[in-house]
């Protein structure tokens, strides 16, 4: 261990003791896109003990421009991002235990994963999921690190239950749809800088240097040169339903995770089965072929295409219906193919 981490042990903020502490920590990383893949690589190179990654998506060509770890071969094989990340991370550092879940991050699916971990890292692309992380963080008293970026702009904030205001305190109203990379684009340096802010705070928490935490909400624009480091102290609300005196964790309530179909991308709808299933992908692939679809499969998913219709079905029964933003149409495609 000492040779691999020697430059990090030399850093006075970490040392032998900090390195050893880091090696015993477990991080839950939600999302394996741009922020997720880069944060994962950084933490695994640094020598975190265990990393659990949750992501519902697979690697596509348009990801390669900014998402670390992934290669052209991963695109060809349509590997789920979490599985591709695990493969590359194990080539980088076989000391870290990497566990992956190719699932939708919902209140229900995340709840069992949270109690075991020391830190939750946000690498999601929507506020619906971030508010679930915010609730889980407070329910189980585990810090989480918010990060988001779009264009040349990014922001990050570290939330410590019982100490800092939470995300719910800071947002005036819930932004139903913030700017996403799909609508406004994104450049690699904005990802890198958001990751630098997130991962520096992560290392402080994981090496038990909480006194060094930044405490402010940072936002920056690398193209215009704008920068703000914003104090949050006065924003804590006693009546906040997540971190206040009568917390009820509203985003963990079941009625908030029952939608069976959601738009998740400019031209992609995700359809979920009403109840969890465990598909036999091989048989499904054969069925699709028989129906005249061009089929591509790996152990995690089946991709089927006929004319303009393209659908990717995962083992848990979720499907991504590509080429449409019409939720009703996507549901009908799903029902026609999956019965």
């Amino acid at each position: 261990m000492s040779e691999r981490y020697s430059r990090q042990i030399l850093f006075s903020g970490i040392g032998e003791k900090g390195q050893h502490t880091l090696g015993e920590k477990h991080v839950l990383l939600i999302g394996a896109g741009a922020l997720g893949s880069a944060n994962a690589e950084l933490l695994v190179r640094a020598g975190v003990g265990k990393l659990t990654i949750v992501d519902r998506d697979y690697v596509e060509e348009s990801n390669l421009q900014r998402q670390q770890l992934y290669t052209e071969k991963d695109v060809e094989q349509k590997l789920p991002k979490a599985a591709a990340a695990k493969k590359h991370l194990e080539e980088i550092n076989s000391d870290t235990e990497v566990k992956v879940h190719v699932i939708d991050a919902t209140a229900q699916s995340l709840q069992p994963l949270v109690p075991d971990v020391d830190l939750i890292m946000d690498a999601t692309d929507n506020f619906e999921t971030r508010l679930i992380l915010n609730d889980l963080s407070h329910k189980y008293n585990i810090p989480w690190i918010f990060g988001a970026c779009v264009g040349s702009f990014g922001m990050s904030y570290t939330i410590i239950p019982g100490k800092t205001p939470c995300l719910n305190c800071l947002l005036r109203t819930i932004p139903l749809q913030g700017m996403t990379c799909e609508t406004s684009g994104i450049i690699g340096p904005a990802v890198q800088m958001t990751v630098a802010y997130q991962s520096a705070e992560a290392l402080k928490i994981l090496t038990e240097n909480r006194g060094a935490l930044r405490e402010t909400f940072v936002s920056f624009d690398l193209w215009s040169g704008q920068f703000q480091s914003i104090k949050t102290g006065r924003s804590k609300k006693e009546d906040c339903l997540t971190c206040g005196t009568a917390a009820s964790y509203p985003f963990l309530q079941p009625e908030n995770s029952t939608k069976t179909a959601v738009l998740c991308g400019r031209e992609t709808v995700q359809v979920r089965p009403p109840n969890p299933v465990d598909l036999e992908l091989e048989r499904l692939g054969r069925d699709f072929s028989a129906m005249g679809y061009e089929v591509k499969a790996n152990p995690y998913l089946v991709s089927a295409q006929k004319d303009a219709e393209r659908i990717v079905v995962f083992k848990d029964g979720r499907a991504l219906v590509h080429g449409t933003k019409d939720i009703v149409h996507a549901k009908s495609v799903y029902q026609r193919l999956m019965g």
Partner: protein, 77 residues
């Protein structure tokens, strides 16, 4: 005079990174209304607002010399 900084896409909507306004004694709500009216944008209610690098409420009263930042939450990741 107060200075208002616009982040992310607000900068493009307004057409500038910042504007300077003659103002004082009014609150954030009034400022939002002025900006919304002048630039015809209606999404300012979800924007986070900092006054002199500290988060502020809609009711925060502005003083001469304040620097206000309008920061829209972005969701990309």
């Amino acid at each position: 005079m107060i200075k208002v900084l616009f982040f992310a896409h607000l900068k493009d909507v307004i057409g500038s990174e910042s504007v300077t306004l003659e103002m004082g004694g009014e609150n954030i709500i009034s400022l939002k209304k002025r900006i919304s009216d002048q630039y015809r944008i209606d999404s300012l209610h979800t924007v986070m607002v900092a006054v002199n690098e500290e988060f502020a409420d809609d009711s925060t009263i502005l003083s001469d010399g304040d620097i206000v930042a309008f920061i829209p939450p972005v969701s990309g990741g």
